[in-house]
Amino acid sequence: MTTSVGTAGQSPSRAVSSRGILDASSRLVRAIAGNRKATIGLVLLLGIVFVAAFPGVFAPGDPQAAIYEQQVGPSTSHIFGTTQVGQDVFTQLVYGTRLTLIITVVVGLLCTLVSVLVGITAAYVGGAVDGALSLVTDIFLIIPTLPLLIVLSTYLEGSGTVAIIAVLVVTGWAFGARQLRAQGLSLRSRDFLEAARIRGERRSYIILVEILPNMISLVVASFLGSAVYTVATAAGLQFLGLGNSGEITWGTMLHFAQQNGAIEAGNAWWALAPGAAVALLGTAFALLNYAFDELANPALRPVRRRRGKLA
């Protein structure tokens, strides 16, 4: 690991040599293991992914089967009780994980893709193109999200999950684009880019090969940030009844729980369970986001104060 004797503006001392991808990944693993936030976040996320991938392992039944006693509270056979038509809440929770996660990841990826395209093009091409792209970005940033979400969702009602994804991407890309443009601009002045221009590289090569790898950390952070945004907002939209209520996700569970007065009927866990799950998933991404920041920027790492006395 690099140790830096950091006095103002001095050069870092030499580090242990590395050997490419293999070593980079092992460094990454060590870095994650050494950072508590990263470990917890990753464990949480992996757990949720596992549940999404193999729901049958955790809940043997069929989430849509309306065969049980209707709207009962938690019991030994139904950990979180049943819905108003007699479906097992726990089974629904488990099976709903997959779609919830898919929505989150897809929105995250698409948002990031759009942000990267817009942000980097604006930064590198500059001039009028930058002006136009920045204007568009600013417009999307200023527009209040919730009303836009609701309007777009009702307009697209009936299109279900795709609508939710579209709506979230449209309202979510602008923030990342702003950040990526800012970083792109700051990179522009770095000598190695000028060196690439002067040696005669084509512009597309410079953007793809020289600039983009330097922005990976911001791109990943952008993705994680989008994921956090999506988890809560998607659930919120579905809770409001927008999107396809025929599909089972944590958000739609919340919707039905609220519609059927779960809390008054004594089956509060029908609402609490998906709510807690949403919070957990959001926390996992948020922890990873913080951890990533800390790993990328050592200045943010927690300082272990020495309690020793002066020699």
Partner: protein
């Protein structure tokens, strides 16, 4: 000028065995290793060294301006009879700026870009004294005149001044209370060669006039060669040599000092091949067992790799080099 009853006879500043560590998850790195130095009233001491030698860290430690993860892990800094390392914050505040002040490397970093020069001087004077508004204004004008800047610039913002004027404004700020010690961290490095030289002679002139002591940290030996009385050379967190400036330039003792002086190409005289000092300073996270300069030293002996030299006295100088180790009966 504030006076202290306890420094009669003793030096103004007495640094003993000072150690500064950077506390990191991967272990502690010692950036300053057992440094001793003394400073008399009115003396100009230059601390010279290259990247990573610890000179700035040392300076910040003396000025009690270290921030985590850096911390003083040993030794004492006795200023006017009091050990500053052990003082509480409010006692320190009383001393700050009145007894000693600090000039930073870059005015654009040290001056608040959002406030006019006068506003910043006012802040300082209000924080450390009970002067009236009229007195504050008068003093602000006075210090600017001292450094050769027209007092009309009190109303200017830092970005409106040229580089040289900004540095002068910073130096003026340090002189607001005419302290006994002014600590400077490469205050001229952001300026051009000609501006640097002219600012140096002004600093020296001010020092002569008001009698304050100066600790001046720089990586450029030639800058201080005609202004400092004594010069300390730092290498890898340790003091390599400490002697009078003239003695160091005429007869450098430590092989590092010799190499450093030789590394300057000369303007006049015959062109000789520069040797420089090939190699790099050691990794302070894993300092070597013996002398830290040994891997690069043209005069290294076998035992230099296994034994750490202490600071030995050689005439009026101190040298950390086994070449100057006295005969066994004389131990420092």
């Amino acid at each position: 000028m504030a006076s202290s009853p306890s420094d009669a006879g003793g030096p103004l500043l007495d640094v003993r065995d000072l150690c500064v560590d950077y506390v990191t998850i991967a272990g502690d790195v010692r950036a300053v290793d057992h440094v001793d130095l003394t400073l008399e009233a009115g003396e100009f001491l230059a601390i010279v060294g290259e990247s990573g030698c610890g000179k700035s860290t040392l300076l910040f430690a003396i000025a009690q301006l270290l921030t985590p993860p850096a911390e003083i892990s040993g030794g004492s800094v006795v200023f006017k009879g009091k050990d500053m390392v052990r003082l509480a914050e409010d006692e320190l505040r009383h001393s700050r700026w009145r007894d000693y002040s600090v000039v930073m490397q870059s005015a654009m970093n040290a001056l608040n870009p959002m406030k006019s020069i006068e506003a910043q001087y006012t802040d300082v004077m209000r924080a450390h004294s009970a002067m009236s508004a009229g007195e504050i204004h008068a003093r602000s004008e006075e210090v600017l005149r001292l450094v050769g800047v027209d007092p009309v610039h009190l109303r200017s913002y830092p970005h409106q001044l040229s580089g040289g004027m900004r540095q002068r404004a910073m130096i003026a700020m340090a002189l607001l209370f005419t302290p006994e010690l002014v600590i400077m961290d490469e205050p001229t490095s952001a300026l051009d060669v000609v501006a640097q030289r002219s600012l140096m002679s002004e600093i020296k002139e001010l020092q002569r006039r008001f009698g304050f002591a100066v600790i001046f940290v720089t990586h450029d030996m030639s800058l201080v060669s005609h202004y400092s009385e004594r010069l300390a050379v730092m290498y890898a967190g340790q003091l390599a040599e400490l002697s009078s400036t003239r003695a160091l330039f005429d007869r450098p003792l430590h092989p590092y000092s010799v190499g450093l002086l030789d590394a300057f190409p000369s303007i006049h005289g015959p062109r000789r091949t520069l040797a420089g000092i090939p190699g790099s300073p050691p990794d302070l996270a894993h300092p070597p067992a013996g002398c830290r300069f040994q891997p690069r030293c043209p005069q290294a002996m076998d035992e230099c790799a296994i034994r750490q030299p202490a600071l030995y006295r050689a005439g009026d100088s101190l040298v950390r080099c086994l070449l100057y180790e006295p005969a066994p009966e004389t131990v420092r």
